[in-house]
């Protein structure tokens, strides 16, 4: 069968000088097939990204058409009503606020741990401790949420009361209880969740600092901290920015842990302590079960916004990483 086809292919015909004994044609066929499969598999990624945007838009349009309020400025979510009234102002604000707070808390700690692992702790200790941080990254988000709601809510509530009693004059801490699910609780839980991501990425960045630059700083009489400020941090700056943005991407899209720890309240408020807070992702999880077809479509519309935001954040972060990779490659 393959012998038969061999004589008809031009490749087989070219194989002069006894090459006819080799089943060249069929091999080229297999090669082409395999290469085609691999190319198709690789392209799937692009297809999926485009398909996500396309299908979300298709499914979001009916609700956006039916929405009797401004989708971007309305703060509440009555998507099941007739006519439907819903907008992403409050949940988009909540998404950005919780993510920003989470990063403010997580990034300094994450950078500290990354420095500890790369420049302070003994090598063997560092690999063990790094393993524990990786374990933290592996814990499913629903477990974080459960822990946050069933255990961590207590201490954070006490802390909230303390903040309110002593620093209540700061608007952020103006909320006068009850101290249950709040923006503070949600963003601390979120901070713990993005911590291992930012840690492991910036750890890689710090580990890449050329030893010769570190030695140059030390040989000038720098203390360890001065060496880090002179050689390690400036060199790692683009990488740190990228890892923070990747952590931001993760924080913006986090769903379940925030569905369990935020107050699911629709308003734009900077009160961190009282019952409050909601995000696009948590809102989808919370409202999906009760949604009618229009409600479902409205949730998809909000998901489209989330997709767009995370796409921009991730593409920016990756672009920084890619530029940096070229820069590092060129310098070496």
């Amino acid at each position: 069968m393959s012998q038969q086809s061999l004589t008809t292919t031009p490749a087989g015909a070219q194989g002069a000088g006894g090459g006819g004994a080799l089943p060249r044609g069929s091999r080229l066929g297999a090669e082409k097939l395999f290469r085609g499969l691999a190319t198709a598999a690789g392209s799937t990624v692009l297809v999926i990204i485009v398909a996500i945007a396309a299908f979300l838009i298709v499914q979001a349009v009916p609700a956006l058409r039916a929405d009797s309020e401004n989708f971007f400025t309305f703060q509440s979510w009555f998507a099941n009503d007739d006519p439907p009234k819903f907008g992403i102002a409050a949940i988009a604000f909540g998404t950005v606020l919780t993510s920003a707070l989470a990063l403010i808390m997580a990034v300094p700690v994450a950078l500290g741990i990354a420095l500890c692992l790369t420049h302070y702790a003994h090598r063997r200790v560092a690999s063990t401790l790094g393993f524990f941080i990786d374990l933290l990254a592996a814990v499913p988000s629903v477990v974080f949420g459960l822990w946050g709601r069933d255990y961590f809510r207590g201490p954070v509530g006490d802390f909230s009361k303390f903040l309110h009693d002593h620093f209540g004059w700061i608007p952020l801490f103006g909320g006068g209880g009850p101290y249950g699910n709040s923006i503070l609780l949600g963003s601390i839980v979120l901070a713990i969740m993005v911590l291992p991501i930012v840690t492991s990425l910036s750890r890689e960045v710090f580990a890449q600092t050329p030893a010769q630059n570190e030695e140059a700083a030390l040989a000038l009489g720098a203390t360890k901290w001065e060496m880090i400020r002179t050689a390690v941090l400036p060199y790692g700056k683009p990488g740190i920015i990228a890892s923070v943005m990747l952590g931001l991407g993760r924080a913006l899209g986090e769903t379940i842990a925030l569905a369990l720890t935020l107050g699911a309240v629709y308003n734009v408020s900077f009160d961190l302590l009282g019952t409050g807070g909601n995000t696009i992702a948590a809102n989808i999880a919370l409202k999906f079960a009760e949604a009618n077809p229009t409600g479902r479509s409205a949730l998809i519309a909000s998901g489209l916004v989330l997709f767009a935001i995370t796409l921009v954040v991730n593409m920016t972060a990756r672009a920084i990483v890619y530029r940096r990779r070229e820069f590092v490659g060129g310098a070496a």
Binding site: A41, G42, L129, V139, L146, R149, L195, T255, N314
Partner: protein, 357 residues
């Protein structure tokens, strides 16, 4: 002669005032003592506040002491060192707390009965019910997702490493990285919008079919970039000499890849797949949207709602009943054991991987 006198005049001082070695330890003990006393005296706060106060006292005290004795530069160095280690302790605290809570609350209900029965016919207020149906769901969904993702991901990585040239390859590489950042809820919405609402009605008499298979599709979207990236890294580690050796024997490229490159990279690929599966098992959001959940055992992933462990935990967490938290924590412990077993096994495998060394 002038040289000698010049040197003598500029005699360098290399000596430094140093805090004695025991100073930080003594300061630490003192800080803990003072903090405990202060917290105890005011009757305000507990061990956590004591710890935080002690840490603050220690850092501030050491900074001041060092600044006075050793000078500003050393003082700043000591502050940085303290803060770096403090960051570490701060991160381990929630990990330990979570492990402790998980073990103490999770073991209350976790037994053979819990693992062996479903929630069918169990009302929220019954002291009964288990997670068998959810375990089945998680295993089937993760299994199907793996079957879809592995060939696709490995082939995609082969394209990037072995065939990809020019713009398309760069674009694919870039978007694989971007795709790792897609929120799981968006992956769920995508499968909802595409499979459940548009494709599945054709297979189900015009009605959308929520199913375990749809959940598996959503998990595949999340697993794919991880599998591609880890496979890509492993393929790059395979020495070029191996490939050239095979080409020199006249073996075509595709056969070289399938017979020589892939087997060499296999242990590393398996590690990457296991990590991706572990992450997929823990995903809740997509399952809520496209598998809906089901209190009964449903072995059929293609038809009817299906639960999963993470969804089970989420459902029980949202149920108002004095028995629900027990079920939620038992489910959470089961889930964490499953996920961590996969993760740790993958990491151990990676350590034994000769290619990555």
């Amino acid at each position: 002669m002038t040289v000698g006198s010049h040197s003598a005049r500029t005699r360098v001082n290399l000596k430094a005032q140093r805090l004695p070695k025991w100073a930080p330890a003594a300061l630490g003990a003192g800080a803990i003592g003072v903090a405990a006393l202060a917290v105890h005296a005011t009757g305000f706060g507990g061990p956590v506040l004591t710890g935080v106060t002690a840490a603050l006292l220690f850092v501030v005290g050491l900074a001041v002491l060092s600044a006075v004795v050793e000078g500003g530069r050393t003082s700043r160095d000591r502050i940085a060192t303290s803060l770096v280690y403090a960051a570490f302790v701060l991160a381990l605290a929630p990990l330990l707390s979570m492990a402790f809570t998980l073990l103490s609350k999770g073991t209350e209900r976790l037994n053979g009965y819990f693992l062996g029965v479903s929630m069918k016919g169990v009302s929220a207020f019954d002291d009964a019910g288990g997670a068998y149906h959810a375990i089945i769901g998680t295993l089937e969904q993760a299994g199907i997702a793996t079957l879809i993702t592995v060939p696709l991901g490995v082939l995609g990585a082969i394209y990037i490493v072995e065939y990809g040239r020019g713009r398309l390859a760069t674009l694919i590489r870039f978007f694989v990285d971007v795709m790792t950042g897609i929120p799981s809820i968006v992956a769920g919405l995508f499968i909802l919008a595409f499979w459940v609402l548009i494709v599945s009605p054709y297979l189900n008499n015009g009605r959308p079919e929520y199913s375990g298979f749809a959940a598996a599709l959503a998990l595949s979207v999340l697993m794919l970039p991880t599998v591609v990236r880890s496979t890509e890294e492993m393929l790059r580690l395979v020495p070029g000499a191996l490939r050239e050796g095979a080409y020199a024997l006249g073996i075509p490229q595709w056969k070289t890849i399938v017979r020589i490159v892939l087997p060499t990279a296999a242990p590393g690929i398996v590690t990457g797949v296991m990590l991706a599966v572990a992450r997929a098992c823990g995903e809740t959001a997509p399952v809520i949207l496209v598998a809906l959940g089901n209190p009964a055992i449903n072995f059929n992933p293609l038809s009817g709602g299906q639960s999963s462990l993470s969804l089970y935990v989420y459902e029980q967490a949202g149920t108002a009943s004095k028995y629900a938290p027990g079920r939620a924590w038992a489910g959470a412990l089961t889930l964490v054991v499953l996920v961590l077993t996969l993760t740790v096994a993958a990491k151990l495998l990676a350590r034994r991987n000769k290619l990555a060394r």
